[in-house]
């Protein structure tokens, strides 16, 4: 099997799974219980949170556990919107967001919020002038992802934050950092709120975090009783939280070395795919090497993916969460509907081997020639 869909999800690492198992077996108490088993579980959560907050240099209380990035995005956008309803009803998002952001925006529109979409240049970078123009006194939030999930465009969040600050003192910045964590150095201090998901960094599915700076007020979306978190009440999932701490610790180490390695793999693939007439490489100078997006001129992406699957090679179309539709990100950058309608995402990991890439390229050639011949006929 050659798995090249790491941006959709990653396999759980052995070490993280060990932690998960250990936490399930040895930390059986409810962290809300008073007795020593409860205290033991609570202590594990506290230690895990401390480890995470230390790694990001933020406060323990600024880390909120969620079920994943979609929930974190909901909590951030809807939470900020509801808490700031008196200040304004305007929210700005980019055209390169994960589909969950757009769905949340649609919902917020039904509540009377107004959504603006900030433009980007043809390299995918946020158009700073357009952002400035769109910020109004009633703008309460800007949401821009750290790394785009389809083409891997990386945004300069620090600069974006400075621009927002100049235009408005109260407007907050949220960033979906799901595709950034574990791939590039991320800094929570560049933003007010940030979403991350553990299954993208070799952790289990079902756990994510929301970073929320302590001065930001948000409205809870879920109500219940809990001593640990008023924003996300309920019994905390101890094993998932322990796994989250471990996944993050393992993910943020060795970033440079891993990136250099992945960049080499990316260059190898890009170099070869460029020789195909019917393939366009959807990459700009701001793309990170972990994500390689291509458009097939003549072949349907879905057909291609299934054909590759016969060789046990697994690729993504656009973001897994929007599969089947055309790629909004490719559209936003290349403004070419045809190009956006048949995209394939090859996403790489430090676990990928050179041998896998060689085999992938050889099968790619076979499949491509076969399908292209069919279309030509």
């Amino acid at each position: 099997m050659i798995y090249l869909d790491y941006s959709a999800t990653t396999p759980v690492s052995y070490d993280v799974l060990e932690s998960y198992n250990k936490a399930c077996k040895e930390f059986i108490g409810n962290p809300n219980s008073l007795h020593s088993l409860g205290v033991k579980s609570k202590k594990l959560i506290q230690e895990a949170t401390k480890q995470i907050s230390d790694l990001f240099n933020v406060l323990d209380s600024e880390i909120i556990y969620t079920s994943g990035a979609t929930e974190s995005n909901n909590m951030a956008l809807i939470g900020v919107a509801l808490a700031n309803i008196k200040k304004g009803n305007h929210i700005i998002v980019s055209k390169l967001e994960h589909p969950s952001i757009y769905k949340i925006c649609e919902y917020l529109e039904t509540l009377g919020f107004e959504i603006s979409y900030v433009n980007n240049d043809n390299e995918g970078l946020i158009d700073f002038d357009d952002l400035k123009r769109k910020i109004r006194p009633e703008t309460i939030l800007v949401s821009i992802c750290a790394v785009n999930s389809e083409i891997g465009i990386r945004q300069p969040l620090k600069m974006i934050r400075q621009i927002i600050r100049k235009e408005s003192t109260s407007c907050l910045l949220h960033s979906d950092m799901t595709q950034g964590l574990g791939k590039i150095p991320i800094n929570f201090h560049d933003v007010d709120l940030a979403s991350c998901s553990m299954h993208k960094i070799y952790g289990p599915k079902g756990i994510g975090i929301l970073y929320k700076n302590s001065y930001v007020n948000i409205c809870p979306l879920i109500y219940g009783s809990s001593k640990e978190s008023t924003l996300r009440p309920g019994t905390p999932p101890v094993p998932l939280i322990a796994s989250a701490a471990k996944s993050i610790r393992l993910a943020v180490q060795d970033l440079d070395r891993r990136e250099t390695f992945i960049k080499r793999l990316n260059e190898k693939i890009t170099k070869e795919l460029k020789t195909y007439d019917g393939i366009l490489i959807n990459q700009t100078k701001y793309s990170i090497p972990h994500i390689l997006n291509i458009s097939l001129k003549n072949i349907k992406a879905e057909t291609f993916i299934h054909a590759m699957e016969e060789y046990e090679i697994y690729l993504g179309t656009n973001t897994a969460c929007a599969s089947g539709e055309f790629s909004t990100s490719v559209m936003a950058i290349f403004n070419d509907k045809k190009r956006a309608s048949s995209t394939i995402r090859i996403s790489l990991s430090y676990l990928t081997t050179t041998d896998e890439i060689n085999r992938f390229l050889s099968h790619f050639k076979t499949v491509y020639n076969k399908l292209n011949a069919l279309v030509a006929n």
């Binding site: 932690s19 250990k22 020593s36 205290v39 202590k43 230690e47 322990a242 610790r249």
Partner: protein, 396 residues
């Protein structure tokens, strides 16, 4: 030329006869503290020198700021020469990485065989810098950087700014004391202050399960871990106090609850002290703070022990104590809300002028000697070790 860390001693240089004990202890404390960095430590009567890999200097300095007996911590350059011309050239290399507009040179010459005086050397070096570095001038009053030069027997040292150390005496040079450590704000501060004067401490904590919780005990362990930064290998004695406390509550008039309880705690602490060969008891009492800390109460409580009781905070206001506890970073842990021995079974009106004779009478209502012996025989000793693998390390 080698970059290294230089340590200046504080008050201990005034100790003439036992200076060797002081320096040896300081060196031991520092090597223990810096163990993980594999430092090479040498010393003489004026200075201590620490050589280690340069990228670890920031961490090392952070750690040295938790060692008593250090007056100043300085990053310095060691030159294997006392020849002024060679020194000037090396100095110029060092200064190339620094930008400044005003400077002054201060020279110390412990090698009196050099025939120029310190002032002459300073002015010679100063004019050399003026000639060789652009855009700078001398300012002897408020210079941007002060270039210190020390000339010793065969070596010379160049350094710039110094970082203040904790001062005090090296922990262990003045024997041992037993700290009565509750989970509150005062006692950790009292422990810190006693350590500052060179006293190695062990701590005693009284627990009363089920009235006090595991969380309360964990809180005390956390506090002990903070104190352990200054006093490596701290021992925490945990005394199971439930039976004694319940007996007091059942048999003794409630206004005397606190007084008698404190007398029991003093007795137990003294027994622990004698076993541990400690010379003093230490606690966080402050005159008048609560009913058991009035002068009359202190006297009635104190009379059950023979060892001196040191109360470093006796004359401090609560706000001053809080400020100190924030400084030594015990405050946030101290204010965690768990019941401790002193907050359960609190009478509505504790007596503020207890009569020692009545205390004795009441105490005799319970077989306290026996109970104390039992408590001491089965007490738990926790060896605090910050380097010890945290229980959660594997899993996280």
């Amino acid at each position: 030329m080698q970059k290294m860390i230089l340590i200046k001693y504080g008050e201990l240089t005034t100790k003439k006869d036992n200076i060797n004990l002081f320096l040896r202890t300081l060196q031991q404390n520092i090597s223990k503290k810096l163990e993980q960095y594999n430092p090479q430590i040498t010393y003489d009567k004026g200075r201590m020198f620490i050589k280690a890999s340069e990228e670890k200097f920031t961490k090392i300095i952070e750690d040295l700021q938790e060692v008593f007996g250090i007056h100043e911590i300085i990053i310095c350059y060691e030159l294997n020469t006392i020849d002024l011309e060679q020194i000037e050239n090396e100095l110029l290399n060092i200064l190339n990485n620094k930008s400044f507009q005003t400077f002054k040179v201060e020279t110390k010459r412990s090698n009196k065989k050099i025939n120029q005086t310190s002032i002459e050397i300073s002015s010679k070096i100063g004019s050399f810098i003026l000639k060789n570095k652009e855009n700078c001038k001398v300012d002897v009053h408020t210079p941007e950087i002060c270039i210190h030069l020390e000339l010793r027997n065969t070596k010379s040292y160049i350094y710039f700014e110094s970082i203040k150390g904790l001062g005090g005496y090296p922990v262990g040079t003045l024997g041992k004391g037993i700290l009565m450590l509750s989970g509150g704000i005062d006692s950790p501060v009292a422990g810190f202050m006693t350590m500052k004067r060179g006293v190695k401490i062990e701590a005693v904590y009284f627990e009363s399960p089920p009235h006090t919780s595991t969380e309360a005990k964990n809180k005390v362990i956390s506090l002990a871990k903070i104190l352990n930064k200054y006093n490596l290998d701290l021992k925490l004695h945990v005394i199971h106090f439930t039976e004694i406390q319940e007996a007091i509550y059942k048999e003794i008039p409630h206004e005397y609850l606190i007084t008698i309880m404190r007398r029991m705690m003093y007795r137990i602490t003294e027994r622990i002290a004698k076993k541990a060969n400690a010379k003093i008891l230490i606690n966080g009492e402050s005159i008048g703070q609560v009913a058991s800390q009035t002068l009359t109460s202190m006297r009635a409580i104190n009379e059950v022990v023979q060892l001196p009781v040191i109360r470093p905070l006796a004359c401090f206001d609560k706000l001053e104590i809080i400020e100190l506890s924030k400084k030594i970073k015990t405050y946030d842990t101290s204010i965690l809300p768990f019941e401790d021995c002193c907050t359960i079974f609190v009478p509505d009106h504790p007596i503020i002028n207890p009569d020692p004779k009545l205390c004795e009478q009441y105490e005799n209502l319970i077989p306290y000697e026996e109970m104390i012996s039992t408590a001491i025989n089965k007490h738990e000793i926790i060896k605090i070790n910050n380097k010890e693998k945290n229980d959660y390390e594997d899993i996280l």
